[in-house]
C-alpha cells in the first residue's frame, strides 16, 4: 500500500420488488412492522400442486417501470430485475446521471430459476404447434443472463458484467463480486437478484426439493428455529442495489448507507444440512476476517433460516462456533419468513433489510415465529431498536453453497454524510 486509502464499495441506492409490494419503502415498512405477505398460491395454473403457500408479488404493473419493448422480450424474472434496477438508480439519484464513461458502470445479477414462465410458454408453442411457433425472444428470455444483459443495454452500462447462476447463496456471491469489481477499479456496479419461480412447470421442478414446505396455512408454512419447522415457502421478486466506490459517491454528494465489508463462501454438499454448520462457520470466519471485524463486533445477524430442523440446528451451531459466547447475545432475525424465500434474491432482500435496519437503528422481527427452540436471541414480536454498526447476513443454498456477508453502517468515515 502506498498510503493511499483503499477503495471501498458502499451502498448508495436500493430498489425492491417483493411480495410486500413495489418499492423499497413498502418493503421496509412491512418488514419492520413484522408483516407477512405469505398467502395461498393462486397464480393461474399454479393452484393444483402440493405447494400451497408462497410469497407472490401482487399488483405489479411492469409497464409502469419498464418499457414495453423490453417487456415483450423478457420473462417475469427480468421484469422484476429491470424494475428494481430502475428504482435503485432513482434512489441513488443516478437515473439520469451522465457517467464519465459507460465502462465505469458494471452489472452483476444472480439467477437461480431463469425465465421459467416464458420458457414454458415457448415449450408449449414448440410441442403443441411446431418449431415455427417458437418466437425470436426465447433465445434471450429463458437463460440466466437475461437480466444482466437487459439492464446493461437499457441503461447503457458497459462495465464488467457478470451472472452468478447459483443457489440461494449466489445472491451474496453476486454482491461480493460487485464489491470486488468496485475495489478493482470500476466506480459503480448495479447488483442484485430477482426470481420468478411461480409458474406451473417451475413449481413442478421445485416439488423435488425435500426442503419445500407443503403446509396449507400461510402462518404455518415457514417457521424456522421452531419445533414446528416444516421447510420453506418459496417466493418471487427481488432487489437491486447500487454499489459505488466510496470517494466517488461522496464526491457527488450521495448518501452512503453501508459498506460491503467482507464476504466468505464455502460448500458442504447438497442437502447435507448437518455439514453446513462447519461450512457456514468457515464462511463467517472468512467474512469477518476480510471486514476486519471481531465476532463481538457483530450487532445483528440476518439468518439463513431454512426452516428445516436439521438445517436450523446447524445454523445455530455455526453461529456458536464462529461467534463464541457472543452468539447467545447477538440479536438474530429472519424477516424472510414474511416474504418467503425468493431463491437467489432471498439474501439480497436480507441485505436490503440489513442496510435499512442499520440506517434506522432497528432490527425487524421474524414473522410467524413465536417460540424459538434454539439458544439464539431471535427477534420476534415487535422490531427492536438497536444502534447497530455491523450486520452479518447468512445464506445457504439447496445445492450446498454457504455464504456470509458483513455490512457496516455508513462508510469508512462513519455513518453520516
Amino acid at each position: 500500500m502506498s498510503g493511499r486509502e483503499p477503495r471501498r464499495a458502499v451502498v448508495t441506492g436500493i430498489g425492491a420488488v417483493t411480495p410486500h409490494g413495489i418499492g423499497t419503502e413498502v418493503f421496509w415498512k412491512t418488514t419492520v412492522g413484522g408483516g407477512s405477505s405469505l398467502a395461498a398460491l393462486d397464480r393461474g395454473g399454479c393452484e393444483g400442486y402440493p405447494l400451497r403457500v408462497a410469497g407472490q408479488v401482487r399488483g405489479f404493473d411492469p409497464a409502469a417501470l419498464v418499457e414495453e419493448t423490453f417487456l415483450v422480450q423478457t420473462d417475469r424474472f427480468t421484469h422484476f430485475a429491470m424494475a428494481a434496477a430502475r428504482l435503485a438508480l432513482e434512489d441513488a439519484l443516478l437515473a439520469d446521471a451522465d457517467f464519465d464513461s459507460p465502462y465505469s458502470v458494471g452489472v452483476v445479477t444472480a439467477a437461480g430459476s431463469g425465465g421459467g414462465e416464458f420458457g414454458q410458454r415457448e415449450l408449449q408453442n414448440l410441442w403443441g404447434q411446431g418449431s415455427k411457433y417458437v418466437g425470436p425472444y426465447q433465445s434471450i428470455a429463458w437463460f440466466y443472463a437475461a437480466s444482466t444483459g437487459q439492464i446493461s443495454i437499457r441503461h447503457g452500462f458497459k462495465g464488467p458484467c457478470g451472472v452468478v447462476a447459483s443457489d440461494e447463496a449466489g445472491g451474496l456471491d453476486a454482491l461480493a463480486q460487485a464489491a470486488r469489481t468496485v475495489r478493482h477499479g470500476t466506480d459503480t456496479v448495479v447488483v442484485g437478484a430477482a426470481e420468478a419461480p411461480l409458474a406451473p412447470y417451475s413449481i413442478v421442478c421445485q416439488l423435488g426439493y425435500p426442503e419445500l414446505s407443503r403446509a396449507t396455512r400461510p402462518d404455518h408454512a415457514y417457521r424456522p428455529f421452531t419445533s414446528e419447522a416444516c421447510g420453506f415457502a418459496p417466493a418471487e421478486g427481488g432487489a437491486v442495489l447500487v454499489l459505488e466506490e466510496e470517494r466517488a459517491a461522496r464526491a457527488r454528494g450521495a448518501e452512503v448507507r453501508a459498506t460491503v465489508a467482507g464476504h466468505g463462501a464455502t460448500f458442504t454438499g447438497a442437502s447435507r444440512w448437518a455439514e453446513s454448520r462447519d461450512g457456514l462457520a468457515h464462511a463467517i470466519d472468512i467474512a469477518l476476517g476480510e471486514a476486519g471485524c471481531r465476532p463481538e463486533d457483530v450487532d445483528v445477524v440476518y439468518a439463513d433460516a431454512l426452516g428445516v430442523p436439521e438445517a436450523d440446528r446447524a445454523e445455530a451451531g455455526a453461529l456458536a462456533d464462529a461467534l463464541g459466547p457472543h452468539a447467545r447475545r447477538v440479536p438474530v432475525t429472519a424477516p424472510k419468513t414474511g416474504t418467503g424465500r425468493a431463491y437467489c434474491a432471498a439474501p439480497v432482500l436480507d441485505v436490503t433489510a440489513a442496510v435499512l435496519g442499520l440506517q434506522h437503528g432497528l432490527i425487524p422481527p421474524t414473522p410467524h415465529v413465536t417460540d424459538p427452540c434454539h439458544d439464539l436471541d431471535l427477534v420476534t414480536g415487535p422490531a427492536r431498536a438497536v444502534e447497530a454498526r455491523t450486520a452479518l447476513v447468512l445464506s445457504r443454498g439447496l445445492m450446498g453453497c454457504n455464504a456470509a456477508l458483513v455490512l457496516r453502517k455508513g462508510g469508512a468515515r462513519g455513518p453520516h454524510r
Partner: protein, 89 residues
C-alpha cells in the same frame, strides 16, 4: 393458392404486428408519413422484424422471401411481402 386478392398487408396491419410481437408503439400519422424511414427510427430491431416475418408466415401459410427480414423500412418491407403474397412465392 386461391383467393390471393385478399392477401394485402397494410401499414396499419404492420403497426399492429409491431405492437403485438415487439412491443413497439407507433403514431399512425408519423408511421404513414415516414414509411420510408428505417425501422430503427420506430424502435424496431432485427429480432422484432424476424418475429413479424414469422408471424406473417404462420398467418398466410407461406414462406416469405429471405430478404424480408433484411428490409430497412416499412415501405420496402410491405412492397416485398405483398408482392410475395400476390404471386404466391
Amino acid at each position: 393458392m386461391t383467393d390471393q386478392v385478399s392477401y394485402e398487408v397494410t401499414l396499419e396491419d404492420l403497426a399492429a404486428l409491431m405492437k403485438r410481437t415487439a412491443g413497439v408503439s407507433v403514431d399512425p400519422d408519423q408511421f404513414a408519413r415516414q414509411a420510408d424511414a428505417g425501422f430503427d427510427t420506430f424502435g424496431l430491431d432485427s429480432l422484432g422484424l424476424l418475429g413479424i416475418v414469422a408471424e406473417l408466415e404462420k398467418r398466410y401459410g407461406l414462406s416469405m422471401p429471405p430478404d424480408a427480414e433484411r428490409c430497412k423500412s416499412p415501405a420496402e418491407f410491405l412492397a416485398l411481402i405483398n408482392s410475395a403474397l400476390t404471386t404466391g412465392v
